[in-house]
Structure formats: C-alpha cells, structure tokens
Symmetry: C2
Subunit: 387 residues, 2 copies
C-alpha cells in the first residue's frame, strides 16, 4: 500500500480572477495567488519553505522566490505534466511536510491558456521527447490530423459511446448540470449563463460525434494556489482541511492526453487504479463523500471517470447522471463550482480550491454540512476532510 | 528545522558507460542505468513504484515506464534544474518513501551533453522564462557576451580570486588531485591520464583569468541511477547506505548557473545554508566525514564550496588544498572518482554513486573503512552512512 495518508493539512487557498486575458505574466499571476493563499492562512511569504508545481507550468522557481521575497526554501518539486496530474501537487506537498523536508509548502498553477498559447489549439509539431507534455505518443496520431486535445480525447470518447450506448445528449446532461452550478458562482466564466439541453445540442461540433463546443472546458488565464502544513503547525486563521489520502499513479503504456495505448479505450483504468488506492487501500468508503470534484476537460471524460472510480457500473454513467446524482440533492454532488467547463480551466487545480471551500462551508453552491470531498483528475486524486 | 532525516536507504546503484558519443537515446540510457541499479539491489522493474529526476532531464516518464515495462508507479517528481540541484533527487526519493507515498523509488539522470546539445556551448537564446533552466537572469548577462556556463561561473570565480588571493595555480592543485584519482579509476574519462601542475597551467584559457580547459568538467554522454527504499524494505543483495540527512535549499535572488545577484559573489551562501542544514540542524559533525564528493563543474567552485561548507575559513581553501587535505590520506578525501573534471559529468549524480561505492567498500580509490560521506552540489546535498 503506497497511498499517502496522514495529517498534512490545507490551511490556505488563493487565486487570481479567472479571465480570457490576464494582462500580466504567469509569474505575476502565481505570486498573486500565492500571496492570497498565504494571507488566507494567516501567513506571509517569509513563512514559505516549499514550492510545488508542474513540469508544464512556465513559472521559474528562481523568479517566483524573487517575486515573493521569500528568504529561503527547502523543498521544490514539479509533478510531471498537468491536467491528469493536477492533484499530484497535493501528494508532493503532503510528502514534503510529512517527511519533515518542509513546513509550509505552496502548491500552485499559473496559466495563460487563452491570451497566451491557446491550450486547445492544434499542436502541429509532434515532438517525440523533451517536451515533458506526457503526450509523446501524439507523434503517432498527429499524421492523421489528430492535433488538438479535443481530438485526442475524442478517440476514447467515441469508443466509449460505441461500447456504452452513450450519446451526445448524455454528455449534454452533465454539461447542463455544471452550467447550472456555474450560473450561481460569481467566480465562474459562465456566471448567470445557464444552458438547456437544447442549447447544448445546438452548439457546434468540435470533434464529431463526441465533443461539441459546450462539452469543452474553458481556455482560461489565471492562477490558483494552496498552502499545506502539518496539522500541528496549522495556524488558526482558517478552518483546516486534512489531506486524508493522496495518490498519483501512472500505468504501463498510459499516456497523458493522447492516451490510446491501454487495452480498452472505453475505460479509464488509471482512474480505476486511483480508486483502488484512495478507497480500497485506505478503507475510506465512497459513501462518506459529500461532494466530488472530477476533472472535466471534456464532458465525456466525466462519464468515463464516474465508471472507473466505481460510482456506477460500466456503461451506466449516463443513467447515473440522468437520475440527478450530480445535482445538489443527488448522491454525489459534483463539480459544484461549475467544473472546468463552467468555472474555468486552471488545469484542474481550481477544483481543489472548490473542495476546500465546500469543506469550510464557504462555497457559493454549498452542500450542507460537507465533511468529506473527493478531488480527482484522471490518475491523480485526493480525499479531503474537514479538520 | 526542515532537514530531512530518517532511514531512507540507497539499496542499488547503476550506470551506463560514460562516453563522448553514446549512440542511443537518453531514454535508452536511463533505462539501462535503472535496470542495472535494480539488479544491483536484487530487484526488477516490476518492483519500481517511484521515479525522480530533473526538470532539465529530457526523458519522459511515460516513455520510461513503457521502456522499463513497469506495471504501475505511484510517485513521480522532478527537481528543478540539475547541477546544483543534483542531490535534490535524494531528498525527493527519501521524502517519497518516508511519507509512505512509494516503496521503491528510482532517481536517475540521463544526458547526452557531448554528442547531443553540447552542454558547455554558448546559449545565444536568452529566454526570460519557461525553460526551467534556473538561469533566467542570463538575459541580463548574455548581451555582454557571457553566454556559456564557464563564463557565467567566471564572474564569481574572478571576484573570489580578487577577495582571496587565489590564482589559477591554486585551482590547478585541486585539478591535479582529481586527475590523480581519475587516473586510477577505469570508469573515468581520464583513466591513466594524470596531469602535473605544469600541464594544467599549459592548458588553454576558457574564461581568462579564472578558468582553463582543465578546470572544466567533461561534457559527457551517459546515465546514472540509484534505488531508494525504507531501511526495513531493503533487500539483502547489497550493503545498504542510509540517507542520514538530505537538503535542497534555494535563497532569495539565488540563480542556478548565472548566480550573480546574491550580496557577495565570492561566497556561495547557498552552500553555507546547506551546511547549516546538514550539520548544525542534525548534529552531525564534519569530523565524522570519511570522504566528500563536492560538485566540481569548474574547479574554482570547489574552493568556494569548501569555504562555504565550513571545511576551512574564507579565503583559506587554497591552503587547505595545498596542504593535501583532499588526498587519500588528507583530512577530507574529496572526489575520489576523479570528480566531474576527471570521471565525467552526469550532472553531479555520478558523485552520489561514488559515495555509495565508498561506503560499500567497493570504490577503486577506496578510503579505508569509510563509514560516512558527504555529497554536495552547491545548494543541495546529502550525508550518507554505511547501514
């Protein structure tokens, strides 16, 4: 058993505005989110001694330390890739504080996915290595025109549709729920802009027959940050949230975005392994969860993850959703910030902030007395508990 | 105190040949070194569940997992930069196993610094960010022709020469000692090729008046790997080596290679902080050390580190060396593999392998009954002990 458990604790969260044009550098965005998270924790940049981000995050640690004015750090690490690795920063931060390597670790992601290099755009240079994008296998699909994240994912989604009978309407029902959450979240891009299923069905194809425009997450500018300490070191400023379990797995022949080489394209076995680690190996039950934040880069992936994580049987996610289980009164209120599709895409780390808000009781779409939350992104995830 | 201590243990080491033209990819080199390290530990690639390397290492985790055939990993992290961060992989690996996040972690570095993109060559594209090279400040020195690692370092070295009175002859004495070690190490590039001080002084200037050709480490192709577990999990195949202390610090305004912004260019205060962490905070005495491996990208940096680490007073390193303290019978036998200048430059990780060999009693230039070793690279370092 190698699921990290213990009393590593999230004591602060911070973010910038999420926008389409931040008008400042990623380093600036990261620093702003971090300073906000530290203030939320009752700490300052003098207290920071650890930094964790992603290999694909553009901010240099040396520049960030200079921008923050932090005197000395003692831990610095990057999680390979982002997206599916997004919850891996919590694993790193928890390992750093639990092992004694650091006391106050900041996990952050800064991104200009809209005003900078657009994240959903075609990547016409298929580099076989060195990009640390985790998508080296795209060299094999690129010659066939599969050049964008939506098209990479559509290969899996179409196979899933064939195997399960799910259709665009089923994906649309999930999107309608997330847009309903976003509509009441002032932090969301789609605040006050709910949609109907007809609206979803009228949105143009991005990768027919799986992914319409409204199935896609939002290319977003912004930054998000969390502060992690040991429970005993937690300042009193904010209600602490314990990282009850954290895991970041990787399977043989599992790619990150262009994940086309596992035996069954219609099943996310990386998420099944994650569920084994987070639930089976820790003894934490799915029934304990009050809210779930599940990485929704594209809506079909939400259905695949619901099945692989064990919330319903294979092929049953469309019924699970149609039955209202993701709604505020359902069995698994899900993506209560509107998800990446409704709030914005800070590469998944904004989902973790929403989980913390739910467990503090400060979320806009607050689930009553939420005590336990799941945050997952494909093969990485955490279970968080009100401290 | 945030120096990592505990019983994380190095149970295997492996490497490829070190050469000027490996003739195969970095992924291949990494896999070969890892398989060798696992065999040394009595393990196989099926046992690995953690991978640690550097942001500047070109090998993709997804490709490496595929190459190794490892079924499932649960930890993956990268240390920002290499070089001065080289011992940071031991900190990461130790934190992973001590926190319970992984059981068998492999730390590795694969590099084609000679046949690939030559490491010492001029970098004419000064990217302000995103390169994860830790040298963002090079944008300020590049316009003045300071384009190579040797020229970056020479700014510090010249200031040190001015402040301490050290000369090229003093740097040469250190080099002659390392070449003497290399001359009896069949693994070294300069095996059977010792030099005299006159040879050193006759070598051409690379960055006058501080750095001659023989002061430079060797652009090398190859890979090195170590396997880390908890002591209780250590297989019986090899004598275990405990990571008694590990630290990786970073200071405000400290850059990696182009480190020109701390108050005093003639003093490596990053190494002084490292010494505080490794010795003062742990209670381990410098007197306990039987052997030291100190990052010698360029020989002047060795003198600066000897002073900052507290082995002699400021300005006294040249006398410390002239007195023979780095020799096999000195107070601090140093870089017994020939160092990066004599053996080769696997970005510093080959120094760690030599420390393990010394503590196992299997080094070519074996220090009698070595029980405790220091390995440092600027601001990162470990103290290793025979288990």
């Amino acid at each position: 058993m190698t699921t990290l458990v213990g009393d590593a604790t999230i004591v602060g969260i911070g973010q910038t505005e999420y926008s389409r044009a931040a008008g400042r550098s990623e380093t600036q965005l990261a620093a702003e989110a971090i300073v906000a998270a530290l203030a939320d924790a009752g700490l300052t940049s003098d207290d920071v001694d650890g930094l964790v981000s992603y290999t694909i995050d553009p901010v240099e640690e040396t520049e960030l330390v200079r921008a923050l004015g932090t005197p000395e750090i003692g831990w610095s690490s990057r999680v390979p890739y982002g997206g599916g690795g997004s919850q891996g920063v919590l694993l790193h931060a928890a390992a750093a504080v639990l092992s004694g390597a650091a006391e106050v670790v900041v996990a952050y992601r800064a991104i200009k996915a809209r005003s900078g290099s657009r994240f959903g755009a075609a990547q016409t240079v298929a580099r076989p290595t060195s990009s640390h994008s985790g998508t080296t296998a795209m060299q094999w699909c690129a010659p066939y025109g599969v050049l964008t994240p939506a098209s990479w994912m559509s290969l899996n989604a179409v196979r899933y549709m064939h195997a399960s009978g799910a259709t665009s309407v089923d994906f649309g029902r999930a999107v309608v729920q997330m847009r309903a959450y976003a509509a009441t979240n002032p932090n969301a891009h789609f605040y006050e802009r709910p949609i109907t299923l007809d609206d979803h069905q009228a949105s143009r194809w991005v990768a027919e027959p799986a992914i319409r425009l409204f199935d896609c997450c939002l290319e977003t500018d912004g930054a998000a940050a969390l502060v992690v300490t040991r429970a005993a070191s937690a300042p009193g400023a904010s209600p602490p949230v314990v990282i009850a379990a954290a895991s970041a797995s990787g399977l043989f022949e599992e790619e990150i975005a262009s994940n086309h080489y596992r035996p069954d394209l219609s099943f996310m076995d990386g998420s099944a392994v994650l569920a084994r680690r987070l639930f089976d190996e820790t003894g934490i039950s799915r029934d304990e969860l009050d809210v779930a934040l599940i990485y929704d880069a594209f809506s079909p992936m939400l259905l695949l993850q619901l099945e692989a994580l064990g919330f319903c049987e294979r092929g049953e996610a469309r019924h699970f959703i149609a039955d209202g289980n993701l709604s505020p009164t359902g069995s698994l209120p899900c993506n209560t910030n509107g998800g990446l599709i409704g709030e914005g895409y800070i590469h998944g780390l904004n989902l973790t902030l929403e989980a913390v808000r739910q467990l503090r009781g400060t979320a806009t779409n607050q689930i009553r007395d939420a005590r336990t939350a799941l945050v997952t992104a494909s093969r990485t995830g955490v279970i968080l508990r009100r401290g």
